[in-house]
Structure formats: C-alpha cells, structure tokens
C-alpha cells in the first residue's frame, strides 16, 4: 500500500461526496437542501466564532469516553482471554449487560450523575467498552498455545506475556472494534448533547434546526462528519504504525 497516497484518497472521497450533494441540491432545489458551496461559505464564516467551541466539546467527550473504555476494557479483555477463570465469571455478566440499550439508561444517568459532562462521557464509555472487552478477549483466545511456549520456557511472567504477546496480538481486533463502536458513539453523543448542555455539536445542530437555519444546521453536520473522519483517520494511522506486520 502506498502510504503517502492515502491523503489524496481522502480528498477524492470528499470530492465525490460534494458532487453528489450538489446534484441532489440542484435537483430538489429547496432551502432544506442548500448547495454545498453555500454551506461551505457559511461554515467558513461562522466556524471560528460559533462552531469551533461546540466541536471541541464533542471531541473532548468522545476522547474521554474512548480513553476510559480503553483503560478499563483492555485489561479486562486481556485477563478474560488469558485466564479461563476470569472468562467463566465475567462473560455471563458481560453478555447480560452488553445488549441493554444504553441510551435507554440516559435519564437514569442524568439523575445519578447530573446533566453535565459525566453522564455523556459515561454513555460513550458504556457503548465502546463492551466491544473493546469482547474484541480483546477473543483476540487473546485466538492466539495459538504454541506462541507462549518459548516465553514460558524463559520463565516469563504475566506482565512479559502481556507486553510481548497479548497486547500486540489483539491490537488488530481491538482497533476494528474501536472503529465499529466509534460510529455508534458519535451518533449517541449527538443524542445526549440535545439534553442538558449548551455546548456540543448535537446542541448546535438541533438549535439551528429549531431556528430553521438550514445553512447553520448543515454546517454543523459537516463539522460532525469531519470529526468522525479525523477519528477514523487516527485509528487508521495507529493501525499502520502498530499492525503493519499483519499484511506482510
């Protein structure tokens, strides 16, 4: 794969998307779908003064949620994958709680943790953490036993095994899970930001919608979608840096 070329392909994706948008806008020709040029013009005008702060809040909530999901999900997944006993005790608990629609618990979290940042970050954390736990656990379970033997015969402890085998071996599955979970997390973040806050892309977009300001609404959607692009791009970058071995 040509690494330097990937930036060009992102640009290519954006251009195709804008062309399709333009086509639909000129075909429908109503204010509810403004042309991309107008939205872009509006975006340039209001980004620094109005949208940036909302974008920053949304990004911070996602990053915080992902951060906690990683520092809790990875160790749990590693232990569940490596120690059968942990798996026996914890898997039923995970399976029982994983399917609970987290969004349905939002009112409860808001009562318990307030309307502010905690309940939103907790929501993102809960959506991502299960996928991380299960992906890392299965990644570890999929490692052939023989892989451990040379390290066992060297007297390696659990920390050595984690550092040399478990973490690098489960990394690709972890990153895939993070990608899948990230899209859901962004959608749910949007929803949580329509309650109890005056900051965040969710708030900004819904506010523009209420004010029937379609240009601002689309500007907000464009920013949210670019936040997603940055997040996915970052995961891809990390994968290229840490998991290039799997394509050899």
């Amino acid at each position: 794969m040509n690494e330097k070329g990937s930036g060009i392909w992102y640009l290519y994706g954006i251009l195709i998307f804008i062309a399709a948008w333009q086509a639909v806008a000129s075909w429908i020709n109503l204010p509810i779908i403004p042309s991309p040029a107008k939205v872009l013009e509006n975006l340039v005008k209001i980004f620094a003064s109005q949208i940036a702060i909302h974008g920053f809040y949304s990004l911070w909530r996602i990053v915080a949620g992902v951060f906690f999901a990683i520092i809790i999900g990875i160790p749990l997944g590693l232990c569940m994958g490596y120690f059968p006993r942990w798996d026996r005790y914890l898997s039923p608990l995970v399976y029982l709680t994983y399917p609970i629609p987290k969004i349905a618990l939002l009112p409860v979290f808001m009562l318990l943790f307030g309307l502010g940042e905690y309940s939103k970050i907790l929501m993102i954390f809960l959506i991502i953490v299960f996928q991380v736990i299960i992906a890392v656990r299965d990644g570890v379970k999929g490692i052939p036993k023989e892989t451990y033997y040379p390290l066992y015969s060297l007297g390696a402890g659990f920390i050595d095994i984690c550092r040399e085998i478990l973490i690098p071996a489960s990394m690709p599955k972890f990153l895939t899970a993070l990608r899948v979970a990230m899209a859901t997390a962004v959608s749910v973040l949007f929803f949580t930001e329509t309650f109890g806050t005056k900051y965040g892309m969710g708030y900004f977009i819904m506010d523009a919608w209420m004010r029937v300001n379609y240009l601002e609404m689309y500007s907000g959607i464009a920013v949210l979608s670019n936040i997603g692009l940055i997040l996915f791009g970052t995961i891809d970058y990390i994968e290229r840096k840490t998991c290039s071995w799997q394509y050899k």
Binding site: Y149, P150, L151, L154, G155, P168, A169, W245, Q246, K248
Partner: protein, 251 residues
C-alpha cells in the same frame, strides 16, 4: 556430572473419564554440552518430554533435574524452539532475536555479540523484516539466533527442521552444528527423520508409543565427523537403527 537427569518420569493425560499414560518409566541422563536426538512414532510423547524439560508442563511424577535442580524456567536458562519456530509475527527479526535476552534481563556483552550472532546465522540485511516476509529456513535461523544468543543451559527443539525442504534442511542442520560447536550447548531435539537423528545426535533415544517409553539409547559413533553424511557408514547406521525400530514398533 549429568547435566540432565530424568528418573522415573511419568506423565498422564486426562481425557474425559479416562487417564492415559503419555510417558512411562522414563530414565535418561544427558551430559553437559551433549546433543541428544529423540526419535519415535507419533503418540510416543516426544513433544511431551520436551514440554516437561522446558517447564511448560509441570504436572508429572518423577524426578527431572537440570544441573541438579528441579526444572525452573525462572532461574535456569532454557531455550525452546517449537515446531513452528515460535517467532512472534508482530516483531521484526531484530526484536525477535532480542526477545530472549529481554525477558531474561540479560544485556548481551555488547552490541557486537548480537551482531555476531546475526552474522553467524547469515541474517544480515533481514533485521527489519517481519517473520511473515521470511522463508521457512530464514525463520528457523532467527529462532536459532534467539536461542543461542541466550547461551542457554539447555536447548530444546521440537522437530525443528521437519517443515523445511530437503536442501534447506541439510543447510540448516549444518548451520546448527556450526553454532553448536562454538557454544557447546546441551541440546535435546525431537525428530522423525532417522538421518537427522544420526547426523545431529551424540546420543540417539528411540521411543515407542502407547504408552511412551524409551526402547533404546544409542551412543552415536558417527557424530561430528566431517562429511559423514555421504559416507557408507552413515547409511549403514541409519539402516541398522531403522531395523531396530521396525522390530520394536511392531511388537
């Protein structure tokens, strides 16, 4: 003094309700710096024997000692090369070779030592490659470099050359002997090729299956003779041992 002493070793394997004997009444002694080739049919517990000696399998009866001590991977240095070479796919050649000394927290005497090992095994220029980019023979060289760099008390190899094509196998066998001569590491290798056993083993241990027991221990008079592989004595010994095995295994 014997480097490895195995006395009354007994290993059983639980499958459902039944217990099977995998290894029974194993007695074996190996001197310091000696190589020992273990040959036997599948199911004779050859690999199990290596797992016991490497400290991977600890559920056994009997005495297994390395330098007069029970097997303890933490305090002894045991190099183990499994059948698939045991390289980590996510580490390049350089880091794979360094893995052993990293786990053992030994600093190689100098960078030169590591470089010398890379040189000795003909791995120059491959340091940055990942195992997936190497041929089977190159992977085996990396595994040998990793094991020998540690200067192990004991080197264990489970069918180390069986996945290689005939020419590469002979080549790597010579590489092994070459490195072994420089380091004189006590080595036990499991194989199912008689020629390999006769070429690499000072001692040849012939096992039989179900339960795994030692049938013969043969001191190999031909070990280490230059170019022995092309001499008639070599073939004669192989044929003689094969005949012994056939009689033994058909009992």
């Amino acid at each position: 003094m014997a480097m490895i002493r195995i006395k009354d070793l007994h290993v059983t394997y639980q499958a459902g309700e039944n217990r099977y004997d995998v290894l029974k009444n194993i007695h074996l002694e190996l001197a310091e710096g000696e190589t020992c080739a273990v040959i036997g049919p599948s199911g004779s517990g050859k690999s199990t024997l290596l797992k016991v000696l490497s400290g991977i399998l600890t559920d056994y009866k009997g005495t297994v000692e390395i330098n007069g001590q029970a097997v303890m991977p933490r305090s002894q240095t045991i190099g183990f090369i499994p059948q698939n070479y045991g390289l980590l796919a996510w580490k390049n050649v350089y880091d794979n070779i360094r893995l052993g000394i990293k786990i053992k927290h030994v600093h190689p005497d100098s960078q030169n030592h590591l470089n010398a090992m890379i040189e000795l095994l003909g791995l120059n220029g491959l340091e940055a490659r990942y195992p997936g980019e190497l041929s089977g023979g190159q992977q085996q060289r990396v595994a040998l470099a990793r094991a020998f760099l540690l200067k192990p008390d004991l080197l264990l190899m489970d069918e180390p050359f069986s996945a290689l094509d005939a020419l590469t196998r002979e080549d790597i066998q010579n590489v092994f002997l070459n490195v072994w001569r420089k380091h004189a590491t006590s080595t036990m290798l499991v194989t199912h090729h008689m020629e390999e056993a006769v070429y690499l083993g000072q001692k040849i241990v012939i096992m039989s299956a179900a339960p795994g027991t030692i049938s013969y221990i043969v001191d190999n008079p031909l070990f280490g003779i230059e170019g022995i592989r092309n001499q008639p004595e070599f073939f004669q010994l192989c044929i003689k041992l094969r005949k012994m095995i056939k009689e033994d295994w058909s009992k």
